[in-house]
C-alpha cells in the first residue's frame, strides 16, 4: 500500500504548480452549492485542494477518503469563477479525477457503460432505441405540463426521480444527416446535438435546425456523432474520453465550416475547454487539430446574438418566462446575456429574472446518480427560486439542467414548463 501511495503521489505532482496558487483564503465557501448543504470543508474547493496536496506529498494515507471527496463535486465551476487568486479549480479536479480514479480503478458498472457502450455510438444508439420502445411498461406520466415520468415499480437508480422519458424518435431519425451550402445567411455551421438532445429532447434540436434554416445558413450535421466525452472524463476514464474525442474529431474534420454549434452548455464547455485542456499527452498535430475544432465551437445562443445579431429587444406580453444560467454557460463560457436577449426578442414573452439565476441546479451529471439526496437538496433551492419568480416557463441553455429542473418541479407538482431558449426563440420564426 505504501509503495502504491508513493506512485499515486508522483502522478499528482503534475498538479502542484496549479494547486500551489490556492492561498486557502476560503472564499469558495461562499459559492459552493455542495458546501452550502453539508458545511464540511472537505466538500469545498479549498479543502479538496488541501487533500490533494497532502496526497501528493504523501502526508495522507486514506486515498479512498480523498477520492470520495474529490468525486463529491458538481464540477459547476462556481468556485473557480469566484476565486480571488484565479486557481484553475476545474483543471485540477478533472486531471485529479483521471489520476486518482484511474489509479484506484473504475467501477465495473462505469467500465461497462463507458468502455462497452458510450465509446461505440452505433451500439449505444440502438440500445437506447430499443429502450425507448419498452419504457412505458415500467413508467407512467408524472406531470403533463413538464412531460416527466416516474417509475411504476420500485426500480433501482430511478428511485423517486421524475425523469424525462426517452423520445419516441431520436433527433437523428427525425432529422437525418445534413450537409447543405449556405444561402443568404452566409455562414456554414456544423451542429453537434449531443446525447441528451438527440435521445430525450429532439424538439430542442429541431428548434435549432429551424432557426439555422430560417437564417439560411449552411448546415453540416454528420451521422455517427459520439458523446462529447464528459461523463467518461468526470469519472476519470481518460481512455474512453480520448476515444470519443477522436471519433468526433474525425467526423467533423471531413467538412469545412465556420462554427461548430451546440445547444447543450455542457457539450460546448467540454469541447471548447476540456478537449484542449486534456490533450497535453497527445502529439503536437493532434493537439493542433483539437484546438482548431475547439476554437470553432460556440453555444448556439451566443452564435445567434453575437454572430447573427438577431435578437432585437421587444416589449413582450403574454407568457412569463424566467431563465436559469447553466454553470457551463455562465461560469465556464461567460455566456449569460445572449440567452436573455433571445428570450426578450420574443413578443409573446414577458421576461422575469429569478433570484440566484446562476446558482447551480444541482445536476452535475453523474453527481446526480451518486449523490441524489444532495443533488435534490440543491435542486430544491432552484425549484423554489423558479416558483417564486412567478414564471409559467423556465428556460435554460442546457438539456442536463432541463432534466434536473423538470425532476424538481415535477416532484413538487408545479405546473411550470421547462424549455430550451432556442425553442422559445424558434416560436418567433
Amino acid at each position: 500500500m505504501h509503495e502504491d501511495l508513493h506512485q499515486l503521489a508522483k502522478l499528482l505532482h503534475e498538479l502542484d504548480d496549479q494547486m500551489v496558487a490556492c492561498m486557502k483564503c476560503g472564499m469558495c465557501q461562499a459559492v459552493c452549492p455542495v458546501f452550502s448543504e453539508t458545511m464540511k470543508e472537505g466538500d469545498v474547493a479549498r479543502g479538496k485542494i488541501a487533500l490533494l496536496e497532502n496526497l501528493s506529498h504523501e502526508m495522507i494515507a486514506d486515498a479512498e477518503g480523498v477520492q470520495d471527496k474529490l468525486n463529491k463535486c458538481l464540477l459547476c465551476g462556481s468556485c473557480a469563477a469566484n476565486c480571488p487568486s484565479g486557481v484553475k479549480v476545474l483543471d485540477i479536479f478533472f486531471k485529479a479525477r483521471v489520476i486518482v480514479n484511474t489509479y484506484m480503478g473504475l467501477s465495473a458498472t462505469k467500465k461497462a457503460i463507458f468502455q462497452g457502450l458510450l465509446t461505440k455510438p452505433a451500439l449505444f444508439n440502438s440500445v437506447l432505441d430499443v429502450a425507448s420502445k419498452f419504457q412505458g411498461v415500467f413508467t407512467k406520466t408524472a406531470n403533463e405540463v413538464i412531460g416527466s415520468s416516474c417509475s411504476r415499480i420500485n426500480a433501482p437508480v430511478i428511485g423517486e426521480r421524475h425523469f424525462m422519458p426517452l423520445a419516441k424518435k431520436p433527433l437523428r431519425k427525425l432529422e437525418p444527416a445534413l450537409n447543405t451550402r449556405p444561402g443568404k445567411g452566409g455562414y456554414r455551421v456544423a451542429f453537434f446535438p449531443g446525447c441528451v438532445i438527440d435521445k430525450i429532447y429532439p424538439q430542442v434540436g429541431q428548434a435549432v435546425l429551424k432557426a439555422l434554416r430560417h437564417h439560411e445558413l449552411g448546415i453540416y450535421m454528420p451521422a455517427g456523432q459520439a458523446c462529447c466525452g464528459i461523463p467518461a472524463l468526470a469519472s476519470g476514464d481518460k481512455e474512453s474520453f480520448d476515444k470519443l474525442v477522436k471519433c468526433n474529431l474525425e467526423i467533423f474534420e471531413k467538412e469545412n465550416f465556420d462554427y461548430l454549434l451546440t445547444a447543450c452548455a455542457t457539450c460546448t464547455a467540454t469541447i471548447h475547454e476540456l478537449w484542449p485542456m486534456m490533450s497535453g499527452d497527445k502529439t503536437e498535430s493532434m493537439q493542433e487539430r483539437i484546438a482548431a475544432l475547439a476554437a470553432k465551437t460556440m453555444d448556439v445562443n451566443q452564435f445567434m446574438v453575437d454572430v447573427l445579431k438577431v435578437a432585437a429587444p421587444v416589449q413582450g406580453h403574454g407568457t412569463k418566462v424566467t431563465y436559469h444560467d447553466p454553470c457551463h454557460l455562465k461560469k465556464s463560457m461567460k455566456v449569460f446575456e445572449q440567452p436573455r436577449a433571445l428570450l426578450k426578442s420574443n413578443p409573446k414573452v414577458e421576461f422575469v429574472e429569478m433570484a440566484e439565476a446562476d446558482r447551480c441546479c444541482g445536476c452535475g451529471g453523474s453527481f446526480n446518480l451518486q449523490h441524489y439526496g444532495l443533488s435534490k437538496d440543491i435542486g430544491k433551492i432552484k425549484r423554489d427560486n423558479v416558483v417564486a419568480s412567478g414564471a409559467q416557463v423556465v428556460a435554460t441553455g442546457c438539456p442536463a439542467c432541463m432534466m434536473q429542473i423538470s425532476d424538481m418541479l415535477s416532484q413538487h407538482g408545479d405546473k411550470i414548463a421547462v424549455k430550451h431558449v432556442m425553442e422559445i426563440y424558434a416560436e418567433t420564426l
Binding site: 492561498m23 476560503g26 472564499m27
Partner: protein, 462 residues
C-alpha cells in the same frame, strides 16, 4: 489518541455526522488562510445547539483536549490552526442562527457561526446597518470577527468589530456559562468581560451568543479617485481631509506596484506611472451635506497636489472607480504562487515613511511587494508575492517580514491592525509591548483556563 469510548460519547452528544474522525476529514481542518504549516487535528466536532456546545467544551476539558474553535477558517495569523498534541477543532457553522434583530433598541443577538455578509444583509433588509466589513465577509463568521476584532474598509469612520460588541455570553474552559455585557447602550454591571473577549482569539472562552450594536445607515454617498505623482502628497491629502473635519467612510490607497499589477490583470487603463491613488468615499444622512463634503474633498486633493481627481456621477461610475481597489488582492494573488498578506499598521501621518521603508525592504531582499490598504487608519497591507516552495526566496520573505514589523514599531505603529497575532506574530509581541505584558496576559489566561486548553499557544505563546 482519543479513546473509542470518548469518541462514542461525542457521537452520542452530537450525532455521528457531526463528529469527523476520518483522516481525510481531519486533514481538511488543518490549515487556515495564513501561510503557516498545517497541523492535523485528532477530531473535528460540530455542535448544532448551545447545550451541545457547552457539553463539548466540558468533555474536551475533562479529557484534556486542546480546543480550537473554527468558523470559516479565513484567519490570516494561524489562529484557527489546531494545537499540535491531541488538538480538537470545534466548528461553529452549525450554530448559525440570528436569534434577534431588535429595530427599536438597535441591537442583534447572534450565534457565533452566522456569516458576516448574510447578517449585514438581514440587518439592511430592516433598514439598519452593521458596518464592520472585513475582506472575507462573504464567508467569515461573526464569532471569528469578534475573536479577531476584525476590521475592514470602513474602520476610519465607523470603527471595527469591537465598537459593535455590546455583550458576549460564552462557555468557560470547564463548560460553565458566563454572561457579560447586555442589550442596553449603558451597562456597567460587573467587569467589562465582553470587551476582554473581543480579540482574544479563542483563548479565554467559547462564544455562545454575541450581542451586536446596529446603527442607522447613511442615505447618500459619493466616491472619488485621486492620482498622485508623489506618495507624500497622497499622505498629506489624507491628513488634510481629516484636518478639515471630514471623515470619509473609505480612504483607500494603492501604491505604484499595486496599480501596475492591477492594470496588468484588468487592463482597465489605470495610471501606471502614478506613485499612488486614493479611493475616497464620503457618506452621510443627507445628500446635500455629502455633496458638499465631496466637493471639499476634491478641492483638498487638488490643493495638496493630486494631478487628477475623478468624482463618480452615478452608481455605475462609482462601481468603476472601485474596480481598482476591488481587484487589488486578486491581482496581487495571481502574480505569484504564494501571497503573504501583512497588516502592519502605523499612525496615518507615518504612511509615506512606512511605504518608503517597505519599498527599500523589497529592494534589499529582492522581493516583489505591493502595498495597498486603509490609508485613513494607517492600516496597510504590504503584500509579498513569492513561492513558498523556493526555500531560499521564502527565507528572504521571512527576513523582510521581520524588518517590516521593526519599521512599523519604530514609527509608533503596531504588529497587526486587523489580522490578529495567532501564532504568526506572537514572537514579536514582546517587542511591541513588554515582558510584563506577556506575563500579565499569561497569568490571566492561567486563571480562567488552568489546563491551558482554550486555543493554547495563540497570541501569548506558552
Amino acid at each position: 489518541m482519543i479513546s473509542a469510548s470518548l469518541l462514542t460519547e461525542f457521537q452520542n452528544l452530537l450525532g455521528k455526522d457531526n463528529v469527523l474522525e476520518s483522516e481525510s476529514d481531519r486533514h481538511a481542518y488543518s490549515y487556515d488562510a495564513a501561510v503557516l504549516d498545517a497541523v492535523i487535528p485528532e477530531l473535528v466536532l460540530r455542535p448544532t445547539n448551545s447545550e451541545q456546545l457547552g457539553k463539548t467544551v466540558a468533555l474536551c476539558n475533562e479529557n484534556k483536549l486542546p480546543m480550537t474553535v473554527r468558523g470559516a477558517g479565513t484567519n490570516l495569523s494561524g489562529g484557527t490552526i489546531p494545537t499540535k498534541e491531541h488538538g480538537v477543532v470545534i466548528l461553529t457553522n452549525g450554530l448559525n442562527k440570528i436569534l434577534e434583530i431588535n429595530e427599536q433598541d438597535l441591537y442583534a443577538v447572534v450565534e457565533p457561526g452566522v456569516v458576516t455578509a448574510k447578517f449585514a444583509a438581514e440587518v439592511a433588509k430592516r433598514g439598519l446597518f452593521y458596518p464592520p466589513d472585513p475582506g472575507s465577509q462573504a464567508v467569515s463568521t461573526l464569532g471569528g470577527n469578534v475573536a479577531e476584532n476584525a476590521g475592514g474598509l470602513r474602520g476610519l469612520k465607523y470603527g471595527v468589530t469591537k465598537d459593535y460588541v455590546m455583550g458576549v455570553n460564552f462557555w468557560n474552559a470547564e463548560g460553565e456559562y458566563v454572561k457579560s455585557g447586555g442589550k442596553t447602550v449603558k451597562c456597567v454591571t460587573g467587569l467589562n468581560i465582553a470587551q476582554l473577549m473581543v480579540g482574544s482569539e479563542g483563548t479565554l472562552g467559547v462564544y455562545d451568543q454575541i450581542i451586536l450594536k446596529l446603527v442607522p445607515p447613511p442615505v447618500a454617498s459619493k466616491a472619488m479617485l485621486a492620482e498622485f505623482d508623489d506618495i507624500n502628497k497622497a499622505s498629506e491629502t489624507v491628513a488634510a481631509i481629516i484636518a478639515n473635519k471630514i471623515v470619509p467612510c473609505t480612504l483607500e490607497l494603492l501604491d505604484n506596484a499595486t496599480i501596475n499589477l492591477v492594470d496588468d490583470f484588468t487592463k482597465a487603463g489605470l495610471p501606471r506611472d502614478a506613485a499612488a491613488i486614493l479611493l475616497i468615499e464620503v457618506d452621510g444622512g443627507h445628500i446635500a451635506l455629502v455633496e458638499d463634503d465631496a466637493e471639499k474633498v476634491v478641492e483638498i486633493c487638488k490643493k495638496n497636489g493630486a494631478r487628477r481627481v475623478q468624482m463618480a456621477k452615478d452608481a455605475a461610475e462609482k462601481n468603476k472607480l472601485w474596480e481598482a481597489r476591488r481587484n487589488a488582492l486578486p491581482a496581487l494573488a495571481r502574480a505569484r504562487p504564494t501571497t503573504v498578506l501583512e497588516d502592519a499598521t502605523v499612525p496615518r501621518s507615518q504612511i509615506p515613511a512606512m511605504i518608503k521603508a517597505i519599498n527599500d525592504i523589497a529592494a534589499k531582499y529582492r522581493l516583489q511587494i505591493g502595498t495597498f490598504g486603509h490609508a485613513g487608519d494607517g492600516n496597510l497591507h504590504p503584500t509579498i508575492l513569492t513561492d513558498k516552495r523556493d526555500k531560499e526566496e521564502f527565507h528572504r520573505v521571512e527576513l523582510a517580514v521581520d524588518e517590516i514589523f521593526d519599521v512599523a514599531l519604530s514609527l509608533g505603529g503596531t504588529l497587526s491592525g486587523e489580522h490578529g497575532i495567532g501564532t504568526a506574530k506572537s514572537k514579536w509581541l514582546e517587542k511591541e509591548t513588554s515582558k510584563a505584558t506577556i506575563i500579565y496576559s499569561r497569568r490571566l489566561k492561567k486563571a480562567v483556563d488552568p489546563n491551558y486548553l482554550l486555543n493554547p499557544g495563540k497570541i501569548i505563546g506558552g
